[in-house]
């Protein structure tokens, strides 16, 4: 069956869709920021260049803030702007606006900031290896069932895994437009963002009582986000609003790529230590101890939430009787890391899936057998004591093994590698991802959605969840229309605007379709039964006087879902999505280079609403994960770490393997989370394929030629 066409495609292909930089309003000033360019220390002096008329510029600093100089986040520790203390490269010192962009850029490039420097931690290992860098709440999760091991065959093994920063690289850089209406004392922000209500909180925080009303609207097009437009927009909107308020003119800031690369949020670097007690011959794991650490950057912001999801995914798709997990954040002097597709789960799953293959390798048993032996099944308990009621991991695994011809290739490649210099490898990995906010998150959020049936027969959907490329607005409309059965063009999602859209929560955590979509569908069903129509178009035509009519619904979680935030016991996620993946690689030892040839993905994401869009999510997520696994490498000690895309190798068309995707158990009544799971598992599958090809255990990402070269040297010694 053909998938319904995306509603936004035509406008995006012809340039009609407006992204933030396409917005102009009369009298608009060009805005920009000046940020710290040292890692740690103090700002001592700001020198503006001579030869400019300062009267023409609007300049704001922390001292202009009428409200609070704190970005609202789960942990309120990051200032919008700094005037003295420097904790990381990229902290905003000044906002500047001028009518002419070229003059503004010139002025900024000639402005000199004098600093006094202090020692800084910018190396991820230096940050994560030293417990003195720990900050924030330490999280614990402990779960003990009766020990299952046979004491005579115990083997204890410890491994440490590291991952590095990953840059979001959404193609549209961050940008905001602020318009201040003096009469109404209203601040309107238009921007490229995932969470309009977060931005509203931020602008209210910085402006305090200076403005009466704050309205946030998303731009028509949002050029990719992946989590990167979850929290940085709060800061940027705050500074842009402050400029517009001081200038009393509209101000637009669009970041240059270089600045976007250097100062916005990245994926958290991680260190994960796994100690397991296993059967010394078959590798049955009876006890596991995991120490999961994230480099949060200079401020905690939303990192505790990432940490939480990380520890809750740390044992992956395995059933282990005794589990002990500790999660901690570490502070470095790099820009705060933030949300990025997967949100702590990819780092956890990388460690666990790599660990499994290391064990298989050490015991000379098949990685598939080892997985089957330890696999999480229906009726088993997660480390949170949550009983798994629906689990198609086994089916995912069986199917991916069959599709890829894993078993035969595994032995064929072993043979092939004996006589060939260029090696072949095949690797497995499992994935799981909890849909929606963690623990009691959805209970607290209480998402609300609205559907308006218009007089003219149109159906308008009001949700705060944005269309950032993932196809949400087409898919949500389709879910509603599965009840109304109108021509697709009659049902639309209205661009989120906080003055008319109910708060259905942020566009994060694979929750848009899973929480908001299923809620909308429930509302549509209620509307249908309340109005009692057989044909909605007819019904509206015949009862013109009673339209427009508006309906709302609030999300009510399953009352049985209880979660204890201190002990981390209970239902962390009502539904999990499941996946299994096989990756086939070729490794050229002369170039130290891995080429991914094929990647098979079998996923259970429940009901698939729009297959074309769903496939696109998997393809895109897989390629992002391959970038994280192989080439995307930011880290250089100190700054500036990147000057542009030239320094950061994003996957291009020539790098992509043949990617096969199959969805199973799609007859489920529920559409589960989909957006993030494809980011969770491909990287360890690649790494495991490399282990099969070469016998070299590399417990770090990315697998760049430099890292492989170094590891090869070590393994020869």
């Amino acid at each position: 069956m053909k998938s319904q066409k995306r509603k936004d495609a035509f406008a995006k292909l012809t340039g009609k869709c407006r992204f933030l930089d396409d917005y102009t309003v009369p009298d608009m000033l060009q805005g920009y920021i000046i940020y710290t360019t040292i890692d740690r220390g103090w700002i001592r002096k700001i020198n503006f260049p001579a030869g400019f008329d300062l009267q023409e510029f609007t300049i704001v600093s922390a001292s202009d803030i009428p409200g609070k100089n704190i970005v609202p986040e789960p942990v309120n520790d990051q200032p919008f702007m700094t005037s003295e203390v420097v904790d990381n490269f990229g902290q905003v010192i000044l906002g500047i606006a001028h009518p002419n962009r070229e003059i503004l850029k010139k002025f900024i490039s000639l402005t000199r900031i004098e600093y006094e420097r202090r020692n800084a931690v910018t190396d991820t290992k230096e940050c994560l290896d030293n417990e003195a860098n720990q900050f924030g709440e330490i999280m614990h999760l402990k779960h003990e069932l009766a020990p299952t091991y046979n004491l005579r065959h115990l083997w204890k093994w410890q491994q440490i895994f590291y991952t590095q920063h990953q840059e979001q690289a959404y193609l549209e850089p961050q940008g905001m437009l602020a318009e201040y209406n003096i009469e109404k004392e209203e601040m309107k922000i238009t921007g490229t963002m995932q969470c309009p209500f977060f931005v509203k909180d931020a602008v209210e925080s910085i402006m305090g009582k200076a403005v009466k009303n704050v309205v946030i609207e998303t731009s028509e097009g949002i050029g990719g986000a992946f989590g990167g437009k979850e929290d940085f927009p709060n800061l940027l909107a705050g500074v842009t609003a402050l400029l517009a308020w001081k200038a009393q003119k509209p101000v637009k800031i669009v970041l240059d790529r270089k600045d976007d690369l250097l100062i916005t949020t990245n994926r958290h670097p991680s260190r994960v230590d796994i100690i397991a007690i296993m059967h010394d011959q078959n590798g049955f794991i009876s006890k596991i101890d995991i120490d999961y650490r994230l480099d949060a950057g200079a401020f905690q912001t939303l990192s505790p939430v990432v940490l939480h999801r990380g520890i809750l995914h740390a044992t992956g798709g395995y059933n282990i009787a005794e589990v002990k997990i500790k999660g901690s954040l570490h502070r470095s002097n790099t820009p705060p890391n933030g949300a990025f597709r997967g949100f702590g789960a990819p780092q956890a799953i990388f460690a666990m899936e790599s660990f499994i293959d290391n064990v298989a390798h050490r015991l000379s048993i098949s990685p598939l057998r080892l997985r089957q032996l330890n696999l999480l099944k229906t009726g088993d308990q997660l480390p949170t004591s949550q009983i798994v009621t629906e689990n198609h991991l086994q089916d995912c695994l069986d199917r991916v093994v069959q599709l890829s011809g894993y078993k035969k290739k595994f032995t064929d490649f072993q043979e092939y590698n004996k006589t060939n210099t260029v090696k072949k490898g095949i690797g497995l990995a499992l994935g799981l991802h909890g849909g929606g906010y963690t623990g009691n998150g959805e209970k607290v959020l209480q998402s609300r959605v609205k559907i308006v049936l218009e007089k003219n027969g149109m159906v308008n959907i009001y949700v705060a969840n944005v269309e950032m490329g993932q196809g949400a607005h087409t898919t949500l409309a389709q879910m509603v229309n599965s009840i109304f059965k109108l021509p697709p063009e009659k049902v639309n999602v209205v661009i989120p605007n906080t003055s008319q859209t109910p708060n259905s929560g942020p566009t994060v955590a694979s929750r848009t379709i899973y929480v908001v979509g299923n809620l909308l569908q429930k509302l549509a069903e209620r509307i249908k039964s309340e109005l009692g129509f057989a044909d909605l178009k007819d019904h509206i035509a015949k009862n013109q006087n009673s339209f427009p009519q508006s309906f709302e619904e609030v999300f009510v979680p399953d009352p049985a879902d209880d979660f204890d935030d201190i002990t981390n016991q209970g239902v962390a996620y009502h539904d999990f999505s499941w996946a299994a993946c096989v990756v086939e690689i070729t490794y050229d030892p002369d170039l130290y280079q891995i080429r991914v040839d094929k990647c098979w993905n079998v996923l259970d994401v429940g009901k698939v609403i729009n297959e074309g869009i769903a496939l696109g999510q998997v393809y895109g997520g897989v390629v992002q994960a391959l970038g994280w696994a192989l080439t995307e490498n930011i880290y250089k000690k100190g700054y500036p770490r990147l000057s542009g895309f030239t320094d950061y190798t994003l996957p291009a068309s020539l790098d992509i393997p043949e990617i096969k995707v199959e969805f199973i158990h799609t007859n489920s009544p529920v559409a589960k989370g989909l957006g993030e799971i494809p980011m969770d598992y491909p990287a360890p599958a690649v790494r495991n394929a490399f282990l099969q090809a070469t016998g070299i255990m590399i417990n770090e990402l990315p697998l760049t030629p430099e890292r492989i070269f170094a590891a090869q040297g070590r393994s020869k010694k």
Partner: protein, 161 residues
């Protein structure tokens, strides 16, 4: 400096600094919105246009270089027969995601389709290798171009027979 060129088949004349980027002149002076700035250094292809028949990244072209030359952007391409076929195929395959890169892809794919419409995945990958897309993983873009090649070849064989 006064510069005249053909933009999407319409003659335009502007007075401006010769060293300004074609990208800025198109976006700011001529309100051509399909041309996007993403990297500003020739790496991503979001700002692609057809210049004298070839795809180029307009962030690396100075306006002075354009004097007397024909410039085609996604707006113009979408009016051509091959452009229409491509747009249909991108829509039908649900290839578009955030779309920020897509006007750039339209430019390179249109060039491919109008010069070597071979439905070969490797050749298509080569043709779009200068365009970065962070959302789609390229799979559906390639699929859409293959479909467009088949369509255009079918149309042409109809015309001949």
């Amino acid at each position: 400096m006064t510069i005249s060129f053909l933009l999407n088949n319409e003659p335009v004349t502007i007075t401006t600094e010769p060293m300004r980027r074609l990208l800025d002149v198109l976006r700011e002076d001529l309100k051509v919105r399909s041309v996007k700035e993403s990297c500003g250094e020739g790496e991503c292809g979001a700002c692609s246009v057809i210049l004298a028949g070839k795809p180029v990244t307009s962030c690396l072209v100075n306006i002075a270089q354009v004097e007397g030359i024909e410039v085609l952007t996604a707006e113009g391409i979408s009016q051509t027969p091959a452009g229409k076929i491509l747009i249909d195929c991108f829509e039908e395959t649900n290839a578009v995601q955030c779309g920020f890169c897509f006007t750039g892809f339209l430019v390179s794919c249109w060039h491919y389709l109008t010069t070597t419409p071979v439905a070969d995945a490797e050749a298509i990958k080569q043709a779009i290798s200068g365009n970065i897309c962070r959302c789609t993983g390229y799979v559906k873009i390639i699929e859409a171009v293959q479909l467009a090649c088949q369509r255009i070849n079918k149309e042409q064989s109809h015309e001949i027979s």
